[in-house]
């Protein structure tokens, strides 16, 4: 299959309308296994990708002061049933730059696929960097997703990330993100994941609020059915005065699923402030009965409540439409 055909197959598996091919002002990076099958850049964005035996290593640079108007589309995928994809990313958003990344990871036919990502991300002073990652998995599970990222958010910079896996079977997810946040920076990390069957979800996210007036929010919303298991450990550490943080873990458990959530808040300065909320359990009884009084049966009502819990926290969908359709 040619590179362009492979790129089209990747897009099809995402449910994107391929009749509406991205316009020239949208940057795209498409990677199938260890091959770059699509690359289009816009002013202000530099990408240097090396193909490795079992994946790729890429440097992504957003130039100083660059304002990339439309979200950059990154797609990583493995179309066959089996395969290993290692992705090493070095992302550098230079001073005063602004960019949004929409990343799709697609493994629609996976039975034994492993996707490992190691990223180091630097967001320089007053830069804005937003990263939305949507996973598209097949119904069989059979995917190991192991993302690992170290992020440095410098003075006055803003970093937000949202991880979404709400369709298909999650498989095994084990991700570990660690953020060091400097003075007056803002960090927001959200994960929305649906686990079914024998899925195993492990999240470890840590934000160190190192600079004065830095803020951080970690949100994880997970819904589990059947025998799925989730293990969440979100940590917010306030080192600096006037830093503010919040940790929010919500998990709905249905059937024989199991969830564990450990929100860790550590305050090392008397002028810092961190809050947390954690709720794990079955579907809220009052919500359930309210929807049942609207004529939904228990299963339909449960699904709607879960849909709400896993709904987007940012208006990414409209951004996608505006940019790509």
């Amino acid at each position: 299959m040619s590179k362009s055909d492979t790129a089209l197959e990747l897009l099809k598996s995402l449910g994107l309308n391929i009749d509406h091919i991205f316009t020239d002002d949208v940057a795209k990076i498409q990677v199938h296994q260890n091959k770059v099958v699509g690359l289009h850049l816009v002013p202000g964005l530099k990408v240097d990708a090396d193909e490795m035996e079992d994946g790729i290593e890429a440097e992504i640079l957003i130039e100083k002061g660059a304002r990339i108007e439309k979200p950059v589309h990154i797609c990583f995928g493995v179309l066959p049933e089996e395969g290993l994809q290692k992705v090493k990313l070095h992302i550098h958003a230079k001073e005063n730059s602004k960019a949004m990344i929409l990343a799709h990871c697609t493994f629609p036919n996976a039975r034994q696929v492993k996707h490992v990502m190691d990223a180091d991300i630097t967001i320089e002073a007053n830069a804005h960097y937003a990263y939305f990652e949507r996973h598209v998995h097949g119904p069989q599970g059979g995917v190991d997703v192991i993302p690992n990222a170290k992020i440095h958010v410098q003075e006055g910079a803003e970093f937000s990330t949202e991880f979404e896996l709400i369709k298909g079977s999650a498989g095994n997810i084990a991700f570990e993100y660690e953020v060091n946040a400097e003075t007056r920076s803002k960090t927001e990390m959200t994960a929305r994941i649906s686990g079914t069957n024998d899925d195993h979800i492990r999240l470890q996210e840590t934000v160190h609020l190192l600079g004065e007036y830095s803020t951080g929010v970690i949100v994880s919303h997970i819904a589990l059915k059947h025998q799925a298991i989730a293990d969440v450990e979100n940590t917010m550490v306030a080192h600096a005065p006037f830093s503010r943080g919040h940790v929010d873990c919500k998990e709905i458990v249905v059937g024989n699923a199991q969830a564990k959530a450990v929100p860790i808040v550590l305050v090392k300065n008397p002028y810092a402030h961190i809050t947390h909320e954690a709720a794990i359990g079955s579907v809220d009884a009052k919500q359930l009965v309210t929807l049942m009084a609207h004529g939904l049966n228990e299963e339909e009502a449960t699904d709607l409540i879960i849909e709400g819990l896993l709904s987007k926290k940012q208006n990414w969908q409209s951004m996608i439409k505006e940019s790509y359709i």
């Binding site: 919500k250 809220d284 009884a285 009052k286 919500q287 009965v289 309210t290 929807l291 049942m292 009084a293 609207h294 004529g295 939904l296 049966n297 228990e298 009502a301 709607l304 409540i305 849909e307 709400g308 819990l309 896993l310 709904s311 987007k312």
Partner: protein, 248 residues
């Protein structure tokens, strides 16, 4: 002869070992606005919960008939699908669920226009509210009016309204009162729980409830007068002793 839409026949119910409903009997006539008034603790909310079949409110004795069908053992959604529903005093909040989606969830006509119409009926601007989430960012009064809008969209046959005036400001209250009359005109029966004389004055027919029993029913002015003179302050203790004497 009035058409009866709902019959409660000798309903007994205890919660945590305490007798709450003690042989409630009542007929709700179709096409009217009814209210049941009584002091706190009379059992009004328990009665409505039992009529709606909420979990934990299964009667030990007695039956509930809706349009002639025994619905005592039906689940909540089965009752709702037959045209019986409940608007809560303090409705649940739903993170991530839009007002439009919530309204259209049980709506008979699941189109955007209908969601707009019902919001206007409860005095809320659709442009401002349809895309908002039904979550804690709404005030108590806003949430309550959205609940009412969602109930209207269902086009039910009988609405159970739990304290329709609580948490509603004066301006919105007039809207709710006129809504009760609009529902009646559309042939929807309303059965409201209240301890407010203002609400009572808006209805066609009233029940007075105390200590788990219906003490009186019928003319609204008579019931209102009794409630005002005998129930404020509450004569609960005396009535309990009378009730105990009657049952011993």
């Amino acid at each position: 002869m009035e058409n009866t839409i709902l019959t409660v026949d000798d309903l007994h119910l205890s919660l945590q070992g305490k007798k709450i409903l003690r042989g409630i009997k009542m007929d709700i006539w179709a096409g009217h606005v009814h209210a049941i008034i009584g002091p706190n603790g009379a059992g009004k909310s328990t009665l409505v919960s039992a009529i709606m079949g909420l979990p934990g409110y299964k009667p030990e004795q007695g039956k509930v008939y809706f349009l002639g069908e025994d619905i005592t053992n039906l689940q909540v959604y089965e009752r709702a699908q037959r045209g019986l529903t409940l608007a809560w005093q303090e409705p649940a909040r739903f993170e991530g669920l839009s007002v439009e989606k919530f309204i259209l969830t049980g709506a008979k006509n699941k189109c955007h226009k209908r969601a707009e119409e019902v919001l206007e009926m409860v005095g809320l601007d659709p442009q401002k509210y349809l895309s908002r989430a039904v979550d804690k960012t709404l005030s108590g009064g806003e949430r309550k009016r959205i609940e009412l809008a969602s109930i209207i969209a269902m086009e039910p046959k009988l609405i159970l309204l739990d304290e329709p005036d609580s948490g509603i400001d004066i301006d919105a209250l007039q809207k709710i009162f006129s809504l009760l009359q609009s529902l009646k005109k559309e042939g929807i029966t309303v059965f409201a729980i209240t301890h407010s004389l203002a609400v009572l004055n808006q209805v066609d027919h009233a029940f007075l409830m105390c200590c788990g029993k219906v003490l009186d029913k019928g003319d609204v002015k008579r019931i209102a007068s009794y409630f005002q003179n005998k129930c404020i302050p509450c004569n609960h203790d005396r009535l309990v002793s009378v009730s105990n004497e009657m049952t011993s």
